[in-house]
Assembly symmetry: C2
């Protein structure tokens, strides 16, 4: 068998897993949006059947053998860059799956469900102590998992790598320290500013059917192709799907049009990434996302950098007024833009504004890191949480439900996930810097609602290469330098100085 034959066999196996993944995604979408109330039992049977079979396919010894044969073939270097990267990614997944003992995998899976259940109860009771014993088990299993994956590496770094390949806590600490150093004084300036927005206008009632029309219109404006997607409603908005079928969800509240508005453009940003993956890479490992951080860079780019910008609203406000039938016709455009960009330190991450959001993430990162290293104990966790919120955001946490229990990630065993949210901000502001050089008329394009060249730039730089590069390498290729948080700090300072007039 030639190396090309072996490669082809290996790739077909890998594609099969990815196709199963798309099937599983659809089951997940249906579960969240359309499934009858009592369909859950059957759905969990379907999920676990597919998951078991996907796992079997990944750890198939045939695949392991093929990987070895290919790696040791004297013609290895005759493979293209894309082929070599596919092999690298398949091997990485194979190693990850085969290194973990089956019992550990199933223990983690079980604890994931129990963990979320217990977390819910604890959150409701506003009592961290209910959750603590469970969190101890979860943390313990995650450390074990990290040890199995790579006993020679810092366990937290191993976990980070599963979400943001080749990032580690030293790099992130450096980035986040710089970010924090830039954000904290900016937040103080904003809070001290005399000019403050009036957000009461955002609470005006906008009928759901108008908000639905807004969603469809926004999809068009930001180039989310609804011929290859659709918008449904769920309690928590999300994006799911792949390539020519990528679906988003939102949640409509009559008195919070902005809630759905920015959810739609955020999720559309995620969806655009998936829709524009290279046709030639489809169902291949290189045709998957580069990382969660890169994915988040895309959603936050569309949501914040584009759709909360002054330029965008100069274009969109008349159209917005038309679609909302004059509900906001008496509003001054500047006041409107200021309202949707209000900065206010708060306790809850998911509703945080563009400036303070990263601080929420940094707090979680620092805590995760110190929990796993043992620098912080689980007993000290709530106090450490509350103290950081006081120190970084000057916010007083009243109880655990609005503090350490607010997010579900740890309950589900996701340690190392949080940093990706803030990395998305750092990445996309850095991308914006290059984008502005490549498209000097960037402001004009946004101001005229002509986002196509901008999306095309992103497609060329980010969407199409998808997983051909790890995130740091991808950023280097795009920007010519290492990931640098200064661009994000500069972007924020410029934008908010103008808004808050300081």
């Amino acid at each position: 068998m030639s190396i090309q034959d072996n490669y082809k066999t290996l790739l077909e196996k890998s594609k099969r897993v990815i196709i199963y993944g798309t099937v599983s995604s659809l089951l997940g979408w249906d579960f969240e949006t359309k499934m009858p109330p009592k369909g859950g039992k059957q759905r969990s049977v379907q999920f676990s059947t597919l998951a078991t079979d996907m796992h079997k396919m990944i750890i198939d010894p045939e695949g392991g053998k093929l990987l070895n044969v290919i790696k040791e073939d004297e013609n290895y270097s005759s493979l293209s860059k894309e082929q070599q990267r596919n092999i690298y990614l398949i091997k990485k997944e194979y190693d990850k799956a085969t290194k973990l003992p089956t019992e550990l995998v199933s223990e983690i899976a079980q604890l994931q469900i129990l963990g979320v259940e217990t977390w819910k109860k604890a959150k409701e009771a506003k009592d961290y102590s209910i959750f603590k014993p469970m969190l101890e088990k979860i943390l313990d299993l995650q450390k074990k998992k990290a040890h199995y994956l790579d006993p020679n590496k810092d366990p937290y770094d191993v976990l980070i790598d599963t979400f943001e390949p080749k990032m580690d806590s030293v790099m992130i600490t450096k980035l986040f320290d710089e970010l924090k150093a830039g954000l904290v004084p900016l937040i103080k300036k904003i809070q001290a500013a005399e000019k403050q927005p009036d957000i009461s206008l955002l609470r005006r009632s906008v009928p759901i059917e108008l908000q639905e029309k807004l969603s469809d219109d926004l999809a068009k404006v930001v180039n989310y192709d609804l011929e290859k997607g659709r918008i449904d409603t769920t309690e928590h908005p999300f994006t799911t799907g792949y390539f020519d079928d990528v679906r988003i969800t939102t949640h409509y509240y009559e008195n919070e049009f902005d809630n759905s508005f920015f959810s739609v453009v955020h999720e559309a940003g995620h969806a655009i990434y998936e829709q524009n993956i290279s046709q030639e890479y489809i169902y291949q490992p290189i045709g998957q996302m580069s990382s969660l951080g890169i994915h988040e860079s895309q959603s936050r780019f569309i949501e914040n950098i584009v759709c909360r910008s002054k330029n965008f609203w100069e274009y969109y406000f008349p159209r917005f007024n038309e679609l909302t039938k004059g509900i906001f016709a008496d509003i001054d455009l500047k006041a409107f833009i200021h309202a949707i960009n209000m900065v206010k330190p708060s306790k809850i991450r998911v509703t945080a504004d563009e400036v303070t959001y990263s601080i929420h993430v940094i707090i979680r990162f620092e805590i995760e890191r110190d929990l796993i290293s043992g620098k912080l104990t689980l007993d000290e966790l709530p106090a450490a949480w509350n103290q950081k919120y006081k120190e970084y955001l000057n916010v007083d946490i009243q109880d655990d439900s609005e503090g350490v229990l607010q997010d579900t990630h740890w309950a589900g065993g996701a340690f190392g996930y949080f940093p990706t949210y803030a990395l998305g901000n750092i990445y996309n502001a850095h991308m914006l810097h290059v984008l502005r050089n490549d498209l000097p008329n960037y402001d004009e394009l946004v101001r005229t609602g002509n986002l196509k060249p901008i999306i095309e730039w992103m497609t060329e730089k980010v969407h199409r290469p998808s997983n051909l590069y790890d995130p740091a390498d991808l950023m280097k290729r795009i920007t010519g330098e290492s990931v640098n948080p200064q661009y994000f700090i500069d972007y924020l300072n410029k934008k908010y100085a103008e808004l808050y007039n300081f």
Copy 2:
């Protein structure tokens, strides 16, 4: 390994295929109802991946070995009736799948798509000659398939068995000859009757949102559990799903409320069958439908025997008038009942009434049978079709699109499928006869809208045993005698003599 261990292993393998089937059904549902317009390519990749893997699981030599070991085990008779039946059904499927050469299977699959495409073109052009060469190939492959499955049996019987196990063309010919002998004079009597219904009332406009409310209400009335199902819209109504997730579709036309009304109760009848399969049999071969004919008996029972009956409308008409906000308030109940039971020989099967419907099916059966035996050639087909429509229904076929090209079944390679439609009528009228003995207050139950005991009777007799028996055996168990079309003829004569006053 004990026989019980081997049985357990074999059953788990079989369950896996059935679970995959439920996943594939959901993909199919989504394809018809929610999928974005351009999602078809990915969906077909998903479908064919699952289908290939299901096929692999079915023909897995491990399964074949287990079947042999179990069959030859000296303790075979220690297995329960249910276990033995599961083994019988698994073996039947294994034999069917392993007897067909892979190339034939893939040829048939390819021709299925091409066949439907060509049929569509021919139907549009109203020209059978466009379709004929394709039909020749399809018929040829179906004969080959039958030969591979059982070279010693009449090929048509082999094909029938794939839809209606253990039925054959001799038995069906006998049943259908009797049925025809009963129906043809009845139709003549109805046509000759002085009293004819006025169906113009059915064309009154009923807003779609009212029709949707009617659908939900009907689900409740006929005991279709919407906690385990849902109603969506598609061009052609269908039912799909299993046990605790069984979904139906309908199609709303503002000026044809009856179209959706009777579609909903028809599909609900199918859905009730699947929802009430025995919990202990779930995902097992015995927990599947007994046959297409039995399935159709359930849909037609709810649609025709229950929901087109005088008794039902005595109960439902006030509720119907309330839900339709008085649109039919001026209509006499008897006139209404007559209108929804109008009998009129026509050219198109899918829109045929309760009496003439079976004639449409008999025509297709006689033609299929004679095509496969060679008694009829493909050149003679359209003339034979038109001649039978003239002879049995006194209807003149103008062109092939309303004649031989009206149904898609043959284009998709489904020979032996049509008879199941009329068998459903024969089965359910026979069931009704026994049901009336078991529940002497049957009429009263329907007249008061108390359908629960009736559905429970069906559940006990038909739904719960599901595939524990082949259809003829199931009928024998329920009725104590062989399938007898006379009950259907009697039922129709009584009902329509009253309606048409002869």
